[in-house]
C-alpha cells in the first residue's frame, strides 16, 4: 500500500496526470486515507462528466425488476461509476376491460400494475457511458423496459403519493372560507 502511495507522490511531483488504472486503485478504498493537497483538483475533471442521470426500469413483474435494479447498481459499482440513490416509484395501476363485440357488456377485466425502479448515477464519465448503457441493455431481462434520462423535478415529485385525506380536509377548509389568521405574539 505504501509503495502505491509513493508511486502516487512521484507521479504528482513530476506533474504527470494519473492513468485510469492508478485512478481506480486509489479511488476504490484508499481515497479517504490519502491526504492530497487541494490545488491538484483545481483544473477540474479531465473527462467531461454527465449531469445526474436516472436509469429507469419498468415492468409488470416486480421480482425480476428488483433483482435487475440490483444488477445495475452492481455493474455501476464495478465500473467505478458513483451511484447516488436507488429508489422505487409508486406503481401505476391499470384496469383493462375488453368488451363483447358491438356491446358494452364486459367480457374480461384485468388489473395490471406497472412497477418502476430508478437508479441515479452521478458524475458518469463520457467515455464510460456508452459501455455502461450497452452492458445494461444486453443484460435486460424479458418484460423490462429501460429508459435513461436526465434527472427531472417530476421524477422527485412522483416518488410521493398524494395524501387524499389531507387534500380533502384542505378543500373543505377553503370552502368554509379559508384558515383563520391567528394573532401571534408581538
Amino acid at each position: 500500500m505504501f509503495k502505491l502511495q509513493a508511486l502516487g507522490r512521484v507521479l504528482r511531483t513530476a506533474r504527470i496526470t494519473q492513468t485510469e488504472m492508478v485512478n481506480v486503485m486509489f479511488s476504490r478504498s484508499m481515497n479517504k486515507f490519502i491526504a492530497e493537497p487541494e490545488y491538484l483538483d483545481t483544473k477540474g475533471p479531465q473527462i467531461p462528466l454527465y449531469e445526474p442521470l436516472n436509469v429507469q426500469i419498468k415492468s409488470y413483474d416486480f421480482t425480476v425488476l428488483e433483482i435487475f435494479s440490483g444488477y445495475i447498481h452492481k455493474t455501476a459499482e464495478n465500473m467505478g461509476i458513483e451511484v447516488d440513490d436507488c429508489w422505487a416509484s409508486p406503481c401505476q395501476k391499470y384496469k383493462v376491460q375488453t368488451f363483447k363485440p358491438f356491446s358494452t357488456q364486459i367480457e374480461n377485466q384485468y388489473n395490471l400494475n406497472i412497477y418502476e425502479r430508478n437508479v441515479q448515477v452521478v458524475d458518469l464519465e463520457a467515455t464510460k457511458a456508452p459501455i455502461f448503457f450497452h452492458i445494461i441493455q444486453a443484460a435486460l431481462p424479458e418484460g423490462v423496459k429501460l429508459t435513461v434520462k436526465l434527472h427531472d423535478d417530476m421524477d422527485e415529485e412522483n416518488r410521493y403519493l398524494p395524501d387524499l385525506e389531507l387534500t380533502q380536509l384542505k378543500n373543505e377548509l377553503d370552502a368554509l372560507g379559508g384558515p383563520t389568521v391567528s394573532k401571534g405574539k408581538r
Partner: protein, 285 residues
C-alpha cells in the same frame, strides 16, 4: 502495465519537467522508433491510412432458452417458494367455496345464502382463464427464415445478435468485411462511420442508433513493402463503431450483404480481422 510505467519514469531524466503522461508515452515511442531508425533505413514516422467501419447489430428479440442448470435451479426455487408462501386471495376463495358447497350438500344453509349455488365459484373463474390462455397462440421461436437459412433477412436467430457484413471486391478478390469508409480531413471518425453505413444502407438516421463518439475497437493492417512504396502508407488502421438496428432498414441493391450470427463469422472473416472484431462484441454461447 506497471513495468511500462516504471520505464516511463526512468525516461523522466531525459524529458523536461511538467509533461503529462501521454506525452511521456509518445516520447518513449518516438525514442524507441529513433533507436529503430538508427538500425535501419526506413522512414522516420510511419503513416497510416485511417478508415472507419460500422459494426451494425440486430440485438436479440427473445430470451435464449434456459440452460440445464438454470432449469433445475428454477424448479428448486419454485418448490421452495410454494412451500414457504401463504395462500393468495384466489386460493382462499376456493377454500371458502368448498365450505359453502359442503354445507349445501348438508342442506342446512339454504336460508342464509339463497344464491350460493348460482355464485360463480373460484374454480369457474380459473377454468375461464385457462380457456382464454389456451386460445392465445404465441409466435414460433424458430422462424421460417431459420429453417431455410436465408442469411439476408434479420428475421432469423431471434435470441442472438446478428451482424451486418458486406462483401467488397478488391483487385478481383472478394472479401467479407464490416462496411468501412476512408477518413476525410475535417470530419470526425464517427461521421466517417455513418457515411460508411449510408453507402450500404438506405435509411440510416432513425432506424440505426450509433453507440458513443469513441471507437469500440481497432484493427491494424501492415502493408507489404511493395504496396508500402506504391501507396506511401505503412498500413491502415480501421476503427470500429458500434451501432444497433432499431427498426427495419433497406439495403442498397448493389451491395452484397449478409446478416450473420456469431458462429458464422469464422467462415467469413479473415482470422486476424475476426480477432479484432470479437474483442468488442458481446459474448454469446
Amino acid at each position: 502495465m506497471l513495468s511500462f510505467r516504471f520505464r516511463a519514469i526512468a525516461n523522466l531524466s531525459t524529458v523536461k519537467n511538467g509533461v503529462s503522461l501521454s506525452n511521456v508515452c509518445q516520447n518513449t515511442q518516438s525514442s524507441s522508433r529513433m533507436l529503430y531508425d538508427t538500425l535501419s533505413t526506413t522512414n522516420p514516422s510511419p503513416k497510416w491510412q485511417l478508415l472507419s467501419a460500422v459494426c451494425l447489430e440486430r440485438t436479440p428479440i427473445i430470451m435464449p432458452p434456459m440452460a440445464k442448470i438454470e432449469e433445475e435451479m428454477a424448479e428448486i426455487f419454485e418448490k421452495l417458494d410454494t412451500t414457504k408462501s401463504l395462500k393468495s386471495d384466489h386460493e382462499l376463495k376456493q377454500d371458502e367455496d368448498k365450505k359453502v358447497s359442503a354445507s349445501l350438500v348438508d342442506g342446512n344453509q339454504d336460508e342464509n345464502n339463497p344464491d350460493a349455488a348460482t355464485r360463480q365459484t373460484a374454480q369457474d373463474f380459473e377454468d375461464a382463464c385457462n380457456e382464454e390462455l389456451n386460445k392465445f397462440i404465441p409466435s414460433p421461436r424458430i422462424t421460417a427464415e431459420d429453417l431455410s437459412g436465408d442469411r439476408k433477412s434479420t428475421n432469423r436467430k431471434l435470441d442472438k445478435h446478428l451482424l451486418f457484413v458486406v462483401q467488397e471486391k478488391n483487385e478481383g478478390k472478394k472479401i467479407w468485411k464490416l462496411p468501412q469508409a476512408q477518413w476525410i480531413n475535417g470530419e470526425t471518425l464517427r461521421e466517417t462511420a455513418e457515411r460508411a453505413l449510408k453507402e450500404h444502407v438506405k435509411t440510416p438516421d432513425t432506424s440505426v442508433r450509433v453507440l458513443g463518439n469513441a471507437p469500440w475497437g481497432v484493427h491494424t493492417i501492415k502493408y507489404p513493402s511493395a504496396t508500402r512504396e506504391k501507396v506511401g502508407f505503412t498500413g491502415a488502421k480501421i476503427f470500429f463503431f458500434k451501432a444497433q438496428l432499431l427498426s427495419g432498414c433497406t439495403t442498397c441493391s448493389n451491395t452484397e450483404y449478409h446478416w450473420l450470427g456469431r458462429n458464422e463469422l469464422t467462415e467469413y472473416f479473415d482470422p486476424q480481422y475476426l480477432r479484432s472484431v470479437q474483442k468488442f462484441l458481446i459474448d454469446e454461447d
